[in-house]
Each structure stands twice: as structure tokens, then as C-alpha cells.
């Protein structure tokens, strides 16, 4: 069911032109992390934390867009965890430019970002990009920095399509 939700979201937004502003941009506030994990329980997901002012992130985001285009059943969650107070419109525009309108997109919406990060990982001090590969069983692999797409694809082949736990 959860998988269907994520897939249904992708289909619903698929008709949006690639350069159009992304549809829904959810506010990431206290409790949002728990909500994301609960909503996707039992489903392999990739959560990618990035930021508009992060140079490596900006270079990498179109690669995530390509991966999403090539992998329609990929459940990709992006979270803008930038250190500056990004305007939601700017976040949406960049997501759209990167081909990520179809992803499940969130943006930090609390100036107390330390608290938001703590809910994700108490040791996370804000470095981005960071990617979490979360298997059906909740096993999580953390990738800091620009993610090697070959590794991401390999993980998804194992944990995503076949239903295996995180290898």
C-alpha cells in the first residue's frame, strides 16, 4: 500500500512539464521525520538531503532527476536541509529544473534546524548532501557527499525491486 502511495504520487505528477515548478513541497518540521519513516514503513526508500547553496548538491541533483526518470518505481524523498532560509519557490524551481518534480519533496521549515537534524540523526551536524538508503526492514545505509549512482542503482536492484533487506 505504501509503495502504491509513492508510485501513485509519481504518476499523478508525471504530466507536469520538466521545467515546471514542482507541485507539493512539504514543510519539514518537528515530527516530520517520524512521519516519513512511518508512511514508508516496509518499503525501500531513498531519502536525499540537499541544499540550494550547497555547490556539490546543485551539481548532483540533476543526476537524481535522471535516476528517477529511468526508475519510475523508485521511491525518492528529497529534503532541502539548507543552512540558509530558502524561499519555497526557489526550492520548487530548482527541483523542477533538476527533473525532480515527481519525487516526494520536503523543505526544512523551522529555524531551529539542529532540532530537525537531531530527529534524523543525533550526530548529524548539517553537512550535505547526505543520502539514506532505507531497506524494507529499516536497515539504513548512509552516504555522505555526492552519491555514486552506480551504488544507488545496485542498492535499488537488491533492496528495491527484489524486496530483499538492505544488503
Amino acid at each position: 500500500m505504501r509503495r502504491i502511495y509513492c508510485a501513485a504520487l509519481l504518476i499523478a505528477i508525471a504530466a507536469v512539464p520538466a521545467n515546471a515548478r514542482a507541485g507539493e513541497l512539504k514543510s519539514f518540521v518537528r515530527g516530520s521525520w517520524r512521519s516519513i519513516i512511518a508512511n514508508h514503513s516496509g518499503e525501500p526508500i531513498i531519502v536525499h538531503f540537499w541544499g540550494l547553496t550547497c555547490g556539490p548538491c546543485r551539481q548532483e541533483m540533476p543526476e537524481w532527476g535522471k535516476l528517477l526518470a529511468e526508475t519510475p518505481d523508485l521511491c525518492l524523498v528529497t529534503v532541502n536541509a539548507d543552512m540558509i532560509e530558502d524561499a519555497p519557490e526557489a526550492v520548487q524551481d530548482f527541483l523542477a529544473e533538476s527533473g525532480l518534480s515527481r519525487a516526494e519533496n520536503w523543505t526544512f521549515d523551522d529555524s531551529f534546524a539542529e532540532r530537525l537534524r537531531y530527529e534524523v540523526d543525533p550526530k548529524w551536524q548539517g553537512e550535505i548532501p547526505v543520502t539514506l538508503l532505507i531497506g524494507r526492514d529499516g536497515a539504513t545505509r548512509r552516504i555522505e557527499g555526492v552519491a555514486p549512482m552506480a551504488e544507488i542503482r545496485s542498492w535499488f536492484e537488491d533492496a528495491g525491486r527484489t524486496g530483499k533487506a538492505d544488503p
Binding site: G51, C57, I84, D110, S111, F112, A113, R115, P122, E127
Partner: protein, 408 residues
């Protein structure tokens, strides 16, 4: 008890001057998600506040509220402030990065110089501006770019040399366009610098001190001796390793070689968003504190150099690794060396502090001297000469100035 909480002052009083009445008070933010609904030009709504003491003992604060920076002064150690004077131009998009707060220095004649950065385009390229006051903070000059180059600048730092010359250093991407035109990938940024020899009226020619630094973190600056600045920054070493390096200038216009502070082996193509702190003590020792998530070590660390930065002591871990120790601030004053930092336990942010009486060889036990349960700025240590203070801007509890007192 090594440290004693001596003075805790909240900015509460209102002033009726020739300008607007400004009340520096803590607001009730319980219904707010953050600072976006608090826009008064006062410390009550500021997200960041940089302190500096003037020669007359007045405390100056350069603070940011939304897209404006204002300056205010206090003659009673932060209990009350003069009316806020806005120093930024209207309709700018300020760089609000975690390490990108405004900087302020006050020279021995009481002239104040403020530096800050804007994000000037949709690609978040930055531009550093400065402004000064020569009338005790009543007015500030129209902001001027610190350099004519337009590529991108962020994280300007300011320091005043013994003869009054003002040294500024920042991260600068001026070589990016040239690299791109040549088909080369441009990674990171460079450390650029410029001097003002006319008391902050303008800054002379910009030069690059070093190319190939991390682009996302503040830098630390100080002076090894008159005319010899020291810059501490997160470098990009071979293999995309973002460890720290220090550089001592051979003279004012001659950057020196870089030396590695620590081999943390943080190989990452990511933005750490957390720069170091540097103090150069009166005996010439360099003291560095920094965050890393390297393969060799993770967390907050301190080390010192007794040979002008050529070598550093083994990194000493700082704080509770389970509480994300971060945002260090080092200061020498009154014959003591102080180190402050933040920790967060999931509910409460604390500022901890420790002192060294032997130039960083031994330290007192860490002690929490301030806490808050909502958003807060970096802790900043500042001195008026004989006394040392923690300066800390918080969302819920307002501005706090806490004198550090050594009871040992």
C-alpha cells in the same frame, strides 16, 4: 568551581532617542516555527549577533533580522542598547548561512567597521560588503563591495593589526570563470584578502592567498605578529579531503605556505557548513578548534602549534560526542585561554566553556554556562581587555552577555 556565572544580562531596556524607540526584549515565540514572524529591528528578533568592544568599553553589536543588519551599542554590558541603526541597503538578499553572520571590529579611535555578504543571484553567488561609522555609531557609510570582482564571495572575516590597518579575508571564487572557460572543473573556492590602510574607508587591491579551499565554511583569522596575519580554513587536500590548514603571511602582501592542522581524513564532496576558530596567543602559539567527520576522527577537536603553525599537537576531543558538540570559539584574555562551544541533547542547547592557564596544555573541566530550548546563534567569546564574555544570541531568551570568571 573553575568558572562562575558572574553576569547574566538580558537585553531588555528600551531607549527613547532621536531615532525610533527600540525594545530589546525576548518575544514569546511559542506559536512560531522560527524567526520569520519576528521582524522588529532589535535583538529580540535577531538570528545572529556579532559583538565587539570599543576602546571606551562600549559593547557594539552587529545583528541580522531577516534581510537587514543593524548595529547597536551598549554601555552597561548588554543590559540596554542604543536605537538600532540599519547598515544594509534596502531589498538585498542577505547571506543567512549558518557561518555567514555579520562581522564587526572597532578600532582604537572608536571607528566601527562591519562586513557582511549578500546572495546576489539565483545561483547563490555571494558578494561581500563593508561599511563603517566614524561618529560613534550614529551613522554608517553606504555599503561598498570589498572587491570589484563579481564572481562570488562569502564568509568575510575582519581583524585589526597593531598599527590600525584592517585585514579582511574571505572565500572567493574569482578563478571559477577562467577555469570553466578552459574546460577545467572548478572545485571549492580560494582564500582572498585585502587591507584597508585608511581606517576602513576602502579596501585596497584583492589578492588570492590560496586556491582550493572548501567553499561552505567560515574562516578563522588572527595575527602572529604585527603585519603577519594567520588564516585557518578548511582546505581541500588530495582526494577531496576537507581537513584544516593554516597559513601565516610572510608580510602583509605575501601569503605563506599552508600547513595541515590535523589529518582527519574527511574525504567528502559535501558542504560541512561549519568552520574553525583560531586564537593566536600573546606568546605566538596558534590555537585551533574545528569540527570534522573524518575517517580518522569525528567530532569537535582542539590542537595548538608552538612553531608558527608548522606542526600541531595531537587533536584533543572536545565535548560530549553524543550531543553534537559544535561551533567553537577561542579567545585569549587576561592571561587565560578560553574555549566555548554548543551542544544539543534533543531538547536543550547548552553553551559549554573551559579555560586553560598554561596556554592550552591543560584545560578545566567543561562547564555549561547558558542554555536555551529554541534556536540560537553560535557562541562567540569577546573581551574588553581585562574581562572576557560569552556573547550569545537566542530566539527564546534574547541576547545574553555572560562574563567568564575563573574561580580557581
Amino acid at each position: 568551581m573553575m568558572l562562575k556565572l558572574h553576569v547574566v544580562v538580558f537585553a531588555l531596556a528600551a531607549f527613547a532617542g532621536s531615532g525610533a524607540v527600540v525594545a530589546q526584549m525576548a518575544h514569546d515565540h511559542h506559536e512560531h516555527k522560527g524567526r520569520e514572524t519576528c521582524l522588529d529591528l532589535s535583538l529580540a528578533c535577531a538570528s545572529t549577533a556579532a559583538p565587539a568592544f570599543g576602546p571606551d568599553g562600549a559593547l557594539w553589536i552587529a545583528a541580522r533580522v531577516s534581510n537587514q543588519i543593524f548595529v547597536a551599542k551598549s554601555r552597561d554590558h548588554g543590559q540596554s542598547f542604543t536605537p538600532s541603526v540599519v547598515v544594509t541597503q534596502p531589498s538585498v538578499n542577505l547571506d543567512t548561512g549558518a557561518d555567514a553572520g555579520p562581522k564587526i571590529v572597532v578600532d582604537r579611535e572608536g571607528r566601527a567597521i562591519v562586513a557582511y555578504a549578500i546572495l546576489r543571484d539565483k545561483k547563490y553567488n555571494g558578494q561581500v560588503f563593508f561599511t563603517r561609522s566614524i561618529d560613534s555609531g550614529k551613522t554608517f557609510s553606504p555599503p561598498s563591495p570589498v572587491t570589484s570582482d563579481l564572481e562570488s564571495q562569502r564568509f568575510a572575516a575582519l581583524a585589526i593589526d597593531s598599527d590600525g590597518a584592517i585585514f579582511s579575508a574571505w572565500l572567493d571564487k574569482r578563478n571559477r570563470a577562467q577555469a570553466n572557460d578552459g574546460g577545467e572543473a572548478y572545485v571549492g573556492a580560494g582564500v582572498a584578502f585585502a587591507w584597508s590602510r585608511d581606517n576602513g574607508s576602502h579596501f585596497a587591491e584583492t589578492r588570492l592567498a590560496h586556491e582550493g579551499t572548501c567553499e561552505c565554511c567560515r574562516i578563522g583569522i588572527g595575527f602572529a605578529s604585527p603585519g603577519h596575519p594567520v588564516v585557518l580554513f578548511r582546505n581541500i587536500f588530495e582526494g577531496s579531503v576537507r581537513d584544516h590548514a593554516v597559513m601565516t603571511f610572510a608580510d602583509r602582501d605575501a601569503p605563506g605556505p599552508i600547513f595541515r592542522v590535523s589529518n582527519d581524513d574527511w574525504a567528502t564532496n559535501a558542504c560541512p557548513h561549519q568552520g574553525p576558530s583560531l586564537a593566536v596567543t600573546s606568546d605566538g602559539a596558534y590555537h585551533a578548534a574545528w569540527f570534522t567527520a573524518g575517517r580518522a576522527r569525528k567530532g569537535l577537536f582542539y590542537a595548538r602549534s608552538l612553531d608558527g603553525g608548522k606542526s600541531f599537537s595531537a587533536p584533543t576531543p572536545i565535548g560530549d560526542p553524543d550531543h553534537a558538540p559544535s561551533r567553537p570559539s577561542l579567545l585569549e584574555a587576561g592571561g587565560k585561554l578560553w574555549l566555548a562551544w554548543k551542544e544539543f541533547d534533543g531538547d536543550r542547547t547548552s553553551v559549554l566553556i573551559m579555560a586553560s592557564h598554561d596556554n592550552g596544555e591543560n584545560w578545566s573541566a567543561p562547564k555549561a554556562i547558558a542554555t536555551t530550548t529554541e534556536d540560537s546563534d553560535h557562541p562567540i567569546l569577546v573581551s574588553d581587555g581585562p574581562h572576557s564574555f560569552l556573547s550569545w544570541q537566542t530566539l527564546k531568551d534574547g541576547y545574553r552577555l555572560i562574563e567568564l570568571e575563573d574561580a580557581s
